[in-house]
Symmetry: C2
Subunit: 358 residues, 2 copies
Amino acid sequence: MFQETIKRIRPVAPEFTEKARERLDNLTKPQGSLGRLEEFAERLVAITEDTLPVLDKKIIFTFAGDHGVAEEGVSAYPSEVTRQMVFNFLNGGAGINILACHAGAKVVVVDIGVKSEIAGAFINEQVGKGNFLSKKIIFGTKNMRHGPAMSKNEAVKCIQAGIDLAYEYAGQGYKIFATGEMGIGNTTPSSAIAAVLTGRPVSEVTGKGTGIEDETLKIKIGVIADSIRVNKPDPSDPIDVLSKIGGAEIGGIAGLIMGAAARRLPVVVDGFISTAGALIAYCLAPDTKDYMFSAHNSAERGHKAMLEKIGLQPILDLHLRLGEGTGAALAMLMIEAGLKIYREMATFEEAAVSGKSG
Amino acid sequence: MFQETIKRIRPVAPEFTEKARERLDNLTKPQGSLGRLEEFAERLVAITEDTLPVLDKKIIFTFAGDHGVAEEGVSAYPSEVTRQMVFNFLNGGAGINILACHAGAKVVVVDIGVKSEIAGAFINEQVGKGNFLSKKIIFGTKNMRHGPAMSKNEAVKCIQAGIDLAYEYAGQGYKIFATGEMGIGNTTPSSAIAAVLTGRPVSEVTGKGTGIEDETLKIKIGVIADSIRVNKPDPSDPIDVLSKIGGAEIGGIAGLIMGAAARRLPVVVDGFISTAGALIAYCLAPDTKDYMFSAHNSAERGHKAMLEKIGLQPILDLHLRLGEGTGAALAMLMIEAGLKIYREMATFEEAAVSGKSG
C-alpha cells in the first residue's frame, strides 16, 4: 500500500495551469494584479484537474505524539502538556479550534504517539466525539540521544496511518487537507531532520521552540548533535531518518501529504514541525511538492532551510510559532480567497469594462 | 469640523495594551507564540479602550475618482474604466466584491470625483442600492502637469467627505473600517505624494501601476517630475500637497482615516494609493498612525517608503497590486483572527494545562 501510494503520485499537469491562467486573464482586473491569489487558483485547478474546483469541505489533522528526548530538558514545558492539550483541543479551547472555526474547517485530533492512553480517557469524558481519532502506533518515541526514536516498522506504520487518513477523508468528500501537530519536545526531532536532510549544521536549524532560554538552547543543540552521532541516520533513506531521529506525528504528517498527493488533493503544510514531515514526504516522493501549500513562515529557526529544499514559498508571515495547524487554518482562508476570485469575478466582457489600451 | 476632528485624535493608551497582554499571556499557548495575531488583539483593545472588543460590523469604502493627468498616457487603461468599474462594483463582479464577501464585510462605493455623472445613471439602473454613495466633490482632477489637480478648498472638502463617512458609519455601529479606491491614473498622484512627503526621488517611488511598459514608465516618471516642478507643493502642508498633486479619492481616504481615529475605530489601509491617503492623514495628525493597520505589502514600487515614513508593518505580502480595498479585505480576516484568539481561547487554568516548567 505504501509503495503503491508512492507510485500513484504524479506531477500536476501544466495544461490545467494554462486553462486557469486563461480565465484569470479575462477577469476584470489588470493581468496578474491579484498576485499570489491567482497562483493559488492556478495550482488548485492543476492539482484537482478540475477547471472549476470547490473547497467546501476543509479539514485540519492535528497529530499528537510524545518524545522520549523531552527527558533531556529540551522543552520549556513538561511532557504531560501533550495529553493536556489534546483535551484542550477536544474541549475547543485551543488556538487551532478558534482559527479552524474562523476558516470554516473541521479539526480532527489524531493520537498517533501520545505516551499515555487517550482513547479510554476520552470516551469516559464524552467530549469532542468525532473530532478525535486513535491511530496510536507508539506510546511516545524513545530518547533518540541513546538510540533510535522508533523502529523502521513503526516509522512506516506512522506514515501509513497518515496515508489511510488521507484516503478515508478524501472518500468522505473533503476537498483540502491541512497538517498540524502537538507534541512537547517535537521541535527537537524536527531540527534533527532538518539538519540531516538539508545538510545544514545543527546550530543553524535549531531554535527556541516554545520559548526556551539561551542556556537550554545550547543543551538542545548538543542533544540533537548527539542523536545524529549516535544513530547515524542515512540522508538518502527518509524512513531511516524518520525512525531514528523523528517522531510519530512527523511520520503521520508525511503520510497525510503523500495520501493527499496520491488522491490529487491540496494539502496545507503548517509550520516548522509540519514542514519536517513535508520534507520526509518530499524525499520519499518529490512530486508531493506540487500538492503542498506552505502556510506560513515560522518564527522557528531552520524552517526556511527546509522550505528552500522543497521549493515552497510560504503564504503568510505573521511570526507564528504555535503549531497545532494554526498557520494552516489562516492560510486556508487565503487559498480559498484565490479560488473565489477565480470562480466568481466577472470577465471584462460580462461587465462591459474596456481592456488595456493600445 | 475639520480642525475639531484633528483635535479629537489622541494616541492610544498603553494601559489598555497591557491589559490585553495580561490576558494573552494566560491563554493556552507559549507566550507570544501567536505573533502578530497577538499584536492585532492588543492594538484593537488599545484603540477601542474596550477589554473585550467586537468586530461584528465591518465595512470597506471604495472611493472612486478620475485624474486629469491620465490624458498624459500614464495608465494602461482608458479613463472610462473608472466609471465602468463602479458599475462592476455595484453589480458585484469585481475583486473587492468577492473578497469583501469572503471577509464578511460590506462594500460601499463612494463617488467622490468620477469625471462623469454616476448617481443618475445608477438610480436608473436600480442596482446595488445601498452600496453606492454620492459624495461628489469634483468631476475628476485637472491635469496636474499643467497646474494644481484641484483647489485647496476642494481638497479640504474631499477630506471632510471622508471624515463625514467615518462619523456616519461609526454611528451605525460599524466597528472596523477599510479603505479602497478605483481611479484610472491614480498611481501617478500617489507616487507624486510619496516623492514629496518622503523626500525620495520620483524614480524610486514610481512603478508600473496596472501594468504599463518600460517606455510608458519613463513617461510617467517625467510627468510626475513635471507636476512637482510646476506646482511646487509644500511638503510641510499636506493640504497643499493633496490639492496640487493629489486626487479626490486620496483625500477621501485621508479623511476616513482621520474620522476613524477621532472615533477610536481601527481602519485597515489597503495598498499603494490608500497609503498615499494615509500619509496625508499622518502628516495632518500623526496620532492617526495608532489607528491604522497596513493591509499588505503592495507590489507597487514606492509603497514601502510611505509605510516606513508612517511606521507601519504590512500584514500580508501576496504581491497584490489591484487596489479597490482587496488587500484590506484579506487583512481584515487576519485582524479578526487575532481578536478571536484573544476572546475565545481557554486560559491555562480553565483548560487545566500545565504552564512553563522551572
